[in-house]
Amino acid sequence: MENANPTILSVSELPTRQNKKKAATAPPGKDAESDLDIVLRRPEYLSAPFCEVPWASDDTDSDDGFTIEPIDEQEIYDLISTISDPEHPLSLGQLAVVNLPDIHITPSPSAPADPNTLTQVLVKITPTITHCSLATVIGLGIRVRLEQALPPNYRVDVMIKEGTHSQDDQVNKQLADKERVAAALENATLKGVLDKMLETCV
């Protein structure tokens, strides 16, 4: 264990969407089929969890099946803050590895949504200690979680927050490399670690 004594936030301190209608629910994370989902990006436009999001009642042009409530930073946070740390029995939100102010969506979710417009989600993570060798695995877990959950026009970029990690350039380059990410998901050992991290996502 690299950091036996990290700072821990209690669940009640974590940012939530108070009084808002229920956030999108994530796909059930434990059956055999969802394991496959992580590896195989399905081309269905209506992939979980978005098929479960209720349509806005005053929607006039929902016939293309795309018109959904825009995804904002809080929703991204909800998707990834529940990922388990690979070495602590705590979530990335509790460990403050992911933080709401470090999630950026471009263009802003308030702009009109077109299902073909590329939307960048940039997540800057703060590893618990500066030489945490598991930073790559954590970043990979976040990238996989978001690519699995978000519609295909989202491009997920996960980076180490500046100055918080001694090899951030190397980690950033690996996390940005599609080919390496794809290959990593076919590595049984790594896949096992990722599955365990994502088990706690609900």
């Binding site: 195989l40 299902p115 073909n116 590329l118 026009n153 491009r155 490399d177 290959a183 076919e186």
Partner: protein, 437 residues
Amino acid sequence: MASHEEPAAPLKLMPLTPFKPDLYERAWQSIPHPTLPLLATAHQKSVTVFSLSTLSAHSSLTNGHERSVRSTSWRPNLPPHKLSLITGSFDSSAGIWRWEDEGQGDSGNDLEVEMTGGAKEDAEEKDWELIVVLEGQKSEIKSVAFSPSGQYVATCGRDKTVWIWEDVGASDDDDEWETVAVLEEHEGDVKCVTWCPDTNRSGRGRYSSDVLATTSYDDTVRIYREDEDGEWVCVAVLEGHKGTVWGAAWEPNPKTDHFPRLLTWSADRTIRVWTLKEEDDEVEAPRHAFGGLRGIPNTMRRSLREEWRCTAILPAAHTRDIYSATWSAETGRVASTGSDSIIAVYEEDAKGTATTEDEAAAELDGDVPMRNGDTKPAASKQWKLLSTTPNAHGPYEVNHVTWCKRYDAGCAPEKRGVEEMLVTTGDDGFVRPWQIS
């Protein structure tokens, strides 16, 4: 549509019906056969071969790899009833496969098919046979390529090495491959290997004619040649990209007798053109005084290095990693695509001469002051952007683009095998042809 309406009409890409069936999940690459109307698409743990006539599946290569097939390449110079492909996989092996048309195969093979194949439908499913597995790379293979003669194969991968294998079989039908070089100069994953086409590249002075370009996660491109001692040596390191160099393509059909140029593309969102500085006295270059250089360590063979210069940066068209580009032998046009799902097409100004290239090189090298204090090299004037097509695969990333001859029914019969189209391969599992108009 009428062609006499030219010349001012901008170039347009019109989507044709995608190849059938949809491959459903991410497909990496689609490689046209050098002479036949076939296209090989690497996806999941297999390769699907499509017919360019029917735009539907012809055959498939399955059960040869335990992980995804990332790359594939056709063996050139085989008789038309024989096909051979190499596959490179994340399982760290490369496979050499063969397919024989049963109707035209020799009688020995027919007999074998009859005896082992049983029912006809069984035989059809077993068309492709994995003949040889090339093992040696320690982790994922990222790219594989046959040399223009078919004598060599290059493979490369995450273990930072490039392997060159030579066909030492007694005949075309005898698959026996031997490792002739393991090149370890790159400092990161080697992403792409590509052989120079056999136009204009005849043995220059001290080297044999085969030339290999490799691109890497270490942001560099390297050029390898075989010297007169049969050693594969790195003759140039091309530095300039500021991110992973995803791939490279040689100029397929140089207009003059210059050595083919090299096109490279990168995560830095640029596409660069590199030109070999050719010595006038190249052919007459005196042999080294030590006679054949035998016994001299590689590090001392400085005189054997080639000078490659970046002579152009194509106009900016992409907002994210460029995963693929392709250079047409027919028109000289370049097309590119990548994570932003855009297809861009570029054309070189016909007036581009050696002089302007030298000027461009000087400018890119920083030999002349940049205008307006611009710190970035200016995009070269001799290339212009003809068109950009967004959302080529809807919202999905596009992993590959290639020029390809048309043979489909939508193409006028007299233009089949002549007219070019683009074929793109995406994360959505679609292989999509595009008509150029």
